[in-house]
Structure formats: structure tokens, C-alpha cells
Amino acid sequence: MSAKTKLPTGQEAIEVKGWLGAHRYLILRRLSQSFFLFLFLMGPWFGIWWVVGTLAGSRTFGVLPLTDPLVLMQGLAAGHWPELTAIIGALIVLAVYALIGGRVYCSWVCPINPVTDAAHWLHDKLGLQKGWQPKRSTRYWILGAVFAVSALTGTIAWEVVNPVTMVHRGLVFGMGFAWALVAAIFVFDLLVARRGWCGHLCPVGAFYGLLGSKSLLRVSAVDRAACDDCMDCFAVCPENQVISPALRGKPGETPLILSPDCTNCGRCIDVCSVDVFAFTHRFDNHVKTDEQVADKAA
């Protein structure tokens, strides 16, 4: 093991690519999160009603309807057949995320992501143990339970507790007690389970993960031969189980990260000093050729 593993995560990338280069996608992601929130806040704050509504359902420029497909499907499970507007809105959202990766919602749009990221940052700073780690499949079970409860009670069940839509709605319409949910998730991720909420429990992430399992946009370990095993990508990735199959794949195995858990956050690209990773599409499974030559030479 080289001495580099002792460096703080991303230190080498900062030295090689500069601070900006090593935080490119993180900055873009924060801008994206702010942008989507700002779109919804322009109305209530400045009276510019380009976008009306919340993440659960909205109308852009008076014509484009968008609906959260998970919320709508709970309504379907509860026995309500919605009007066409909501169905069209859900189909548009489904199509977009099916294309660019479902969990892009998690890392680029969801208002809870900055909260869990902050909890993880503090967790690292305090050097805490990873704590209780429920299985990552727990979120699929919770997703199933959400649909079951919706069907049994005839209501949109998850919306009673869903912190994602509740916080977003709170920011746009007025918060009430929803701050407590934010605090609860922060404390849970900080003290109970590292990366606990988004990585193990949230059924919204599970739903969008399934939605994007065949998505076009993918991160690929294109230059995996250049990997110097510094482990920074594993340290920075919120779903680091997705990296190994791509990065450690044998020659001939795909360098694409195909797991539906990948949120396309791009932090692995940021943090890698030798630029192993890059965004590409799912049919581009080529590995850098000069490295293949180096492989053969080795």
C-alpha cells in the first residue's frame, strides 16, 4: 500500500488538477440543486411564475406539466386513475430519467442530498465509525411496503412522511414541522448510519434507481489501467459498491458502471488524479487503447 492512501481524500487530485478541477462536478451539482430549487422559488420570492408547484407536480411556462411518477403510482395503487395532465407529466419525467439515469434525481435535484452530504462531511471530519449498516436492499423492501400500504389504505402513503417532497414543499410553501425531518435525517446519517438515508432506506432513490437501470448516460472507468489504487473514488462515492465491477473488471469486461445504484454524481471523476473515469453512454464500453497496449506489455 502506497503512502498516498494516507493523504486526505482527493488531495492528490487537487494537487494535479487544481481545486476547481477536482471539484468540477461537485460544484456543478450544487449549482444544479440550487437551480432547480430556485426555479420553484422564483414565483413566491419574485413573482416570476415560470414554474408553479413542487417536485410532486408542477407546470412550467403554463404548458409543460411534470409529475413525480412515484407519487402518481402510489395514487394508482390507492385506486385513483388520474387525469391526463398528471399522466403526461409523469411520462415526461419517466422518459427523461430513464435516459440520463434515474438517480440523477438523487444527486442533482433532490433537496435532501445537500443535507445527507453535509452529514457525511461532518461524519468524516469527526472520524466517526460507519455505524449501523442496514442492507442496501432495504430501500427496495421499503418501496414495496409503500405501495402495499398505499393499496391497503387507499391513500398516497409515502407522502405522509416523505422528507423529499415535504422539504421541497416546505421551502416553496412554508415549512411547519418539516424541519424536524431534515434534522432527523441529518442526525441519522451522522450518528446512526453513515450514508444511511440515501444509500439504504429512501424508497424514492430506490424507485428512481430502478427507473434508470437501463439508462443511457453512464460513468465509465475508461482509463482503468491508469488506476494507482489510491482508493479515493471508493472513499468519495456514496454507493461505492458500484465501482469495483467497472474499475477492477478483467480485460474484456465492461468498464461501464451499470449498477442502478450509481447516482451519476461524478465525484469519482473529480477525485481521481489520473482521470480514470469519464461520463459516456452505455454502448461505449471501450477501454483506452494505449492502456490495453500497456496491459499486454505487463
Binding site: 414565483g43 411564475w49 408553479v52 408547484g53 413542487t54 410532486a56 407536480g57 408542477s58 407546470r59 406539466p65 409529475t67 413525480d68 407519487v71 402518481l72 395514487g75 390507492a78 385506486g79 385513483h80 388520474p82 387525469e83 395532465t85 398528471a86 407529466g89 442492507k135 436492499s137 432495504t138 423492501w141 421499503i142 414495496g144 411496503a145 409503500v146 402495499a148 400500504v149 398505499s150 391497503l152 389504505t153 387507499g154 391513500t155 398516497i156 402513503a157 409515502w158 407522502e159 405522509v160 412522511v161 417532497t165 415535504m166 414543499r169 416546505g170 416553496v172 410553501f173 412554508g174 415549512m175 411547519g176 414541522f177 418539516a178 424536524a180 425531518l181
Partner: protein
């Protein structure tokens, strides 16, 4: 386990225990969620749903809590329930008549805005809305019932002289005035709440309540004899004998006891 059967493979055993554990956890978490959901179904009486809202049970299956109806209401009547603040299913739209009543827009923009049909697009005439029913809940404080001429609820009613009428009766207290009792006709009342908003009392004497609280219901089998008789044009029961009515007071045909009732029975030996 019999000696002949193979021992369960560790993977299979692990799969089964994991599955059982997850399923058990889901039952626990799901029950907690179901409890919260049923808890959220209790709608406070003063919280009224927007016009066209489906019955509460259907509404909670249909409303995605997007807030578009709230945004499109030109009078800022509607608000979204905040977690823990309003006692209403979080994120669903409601209004409180005493704060801001529904102004009954002709084009019903809240219904038009609803993407899911939680507010029924079948409601095209706002006069058909049934957000609740006004009830004159406190006759003892209502100024009109005290014999004064307040009339505010009656005059502000958007469906004046249909949803609320003033019913005239004798004022027994003064002996020579009238009482103009505001009277709600529930089949015409839309539950907009303008009357409740306008009531001059510190606490409104007329309130809009959910229909389930405001109204009783007539039993299916109960027939009103006079309506049946009108419809039939004859006595409801064939061959019934209509005996002469014995009315109190002078001028009746009660010959045995002019001006009053004949005693129901007579004591033997009591001389007439």
C-alpha cells in the same frame, strides 16, 4: 429434519432468514406508516376542501400535494397543510372560511389547475360546489334571532335568497316586532363560507361545516304521507275513514264540550 434430507445450503439459509427479516421489518414499518396515514385522515371540521374536491377518502388517493390549486387561486383562499401545524394530511389544500372564504370564481381556476382530478373537473358550475354546508349554529347569539336586523350573512351570500333566506316569525319578547331568521337551504348552499367570514359576532354564529357534520339523512323507507297523498291524488291507504278533527277553542263542532275537549272518560256516578 429427517436424516435423509440434505442440510440447507448456507446461501439458501441466509437468503431465507434475510428475506424473513426484511419482510418482518416491512410489516412493522408498514404498520407504522398505515397508522400515520389513518391518523392523517381525520380532517378538522373548520378545514374545508376546495370546490370539486372528491370525498375525503378518494381525495387522499388522488391529491399529489403539488400546490397548483393553491397557486392558481386568485384570492389566496387556499393553503397547503404544513406538517404538524394544521392537523390535516400534510401538503393537501384546504381553507378556513373565517379567514378567507371561497369567492366562487366562475371559471373555477383551482379545479382547472389540478393535474390529477383530485378536484373533480366534472364540476363546471361553481353553484354546484359542495365544500360544506352553512349552519346557523348559535341561535342564542345570532342578532337576527334576537329580533335585530343584522342580515349580514343573508346579504353577502353569493346565492342570496336561495342558499339563505330570511324566514319571518313573531317576536314573542317584544310582542309587536318580527324575527327574520336566517335559514340555510343545504341543497343550494355551496359551502363557500362568505357568510361565516362576514358574521359580525366575535365568533361566527353561522358556520360552514363539512356535510357529514352539518346534515342528517332521512331513512330510505320513510315516506312523507302528505307528499305521497299529493302524488297519488287520493288517501295513501285505501278505504281509510277521515274522522272529523276535534280542535281546541271556540267555533269548533264539539257539541259535548263547546270550546274544549270532551273528557276522555267519565267517573261513574259523577253527575253531569
Amino acid at each position: 429434519m429427517s436424516a435423509t434430507s440434505k442440510p440447507m445450503s448456507p446461501q439458501r439459509r441466509r437468503f431465507l432468514t434475510d428475506t424473513a427479516r426484511m419482510a418482518g421489518g416491512c410489516v412493522v414499518a408498514g404498520s407504522a406508516l398505515a397508522y400515520l396515514v389513518s391518523d392523517a385522515k381525520a380532517l378538522p371540521a373548520e378545514a374545508l376542501r376546495p370546490p370539486g374536491a372528491l370525498p375525503e377518502d378518494d381525495f387522499l388517493a388522488a391529491c399529489i400535494r403539488c400546490g397548483l390549486c393553491v397557486r392558481d387561486c386568485p384570492y389566496d383562499t387556499l393553503s397547503l397543510a404544513e406538517l404538524g401545524a394544521d392537523g390535516i394530511a400534510t401538503g393537501t389544500p384546504f381553507f378556513t372560511a373565517r379567514d378567507v372564504p371561497c369567492e366562487m370564481c366562475d371559471d373555477i381556476p383551482c379545479v382547472a389547475a389540478c393535474p390529477t382530478g383530485a378536484l373533480d373537473p366534472g364540476l363546471t358550475n361553481i353553484d354546484d360546489a359542495q365544500m360544506g354546508t352553512a349552519v346557523l349554529v348559535d341561535q342564542e347569539n345570532c342578532l337576527n334571532f334576537l329580533g335585530l336586523r343584522c342580515d349580514v350573512c343573508y346579504r353577502v351570500c353569493p346565492v342570496i335568497d336561495e342558499a339563505i333566506t330570511l324566514e319571518l316569525s313573531h317576536n314573542d319578547r317584544s310582542g309587536h316586532h318580527a324575527i327574520f331568521a336566517p335559514t340555510v337551504h343545504a341543497d343550494k348552499c355551496t359551502g363557500c363560507g362568505v357568510c361565516e367570514k362576514s358574521c359580525v359576532l366575535p365568533e361566527a354564529a353561522i358556520k360552514v361545516l363539512p356535510v357529514r357534520l352539518a346534515r342528517g339523512s332521512s331513512a330510505e323507507h320513510y315516506l312523507k304521507g302528505w307528499e305521497e297523498q299529493d302524488a297519488k291524488g287520493a288517501p295513501v291507504v285505501e278505504g281509510i275513514i277521515d274522522l272529523p278533527d276535534r280542535l281546541p277553542g271556540p267555533g269548533t263542532d264539539n257539541l259535548a264540550a263547546p270550546g274544549g275537549f270532551e273528557p276522555a272518560f267519565k267517573l261513574p256516578g259523577a253527575g253531569q
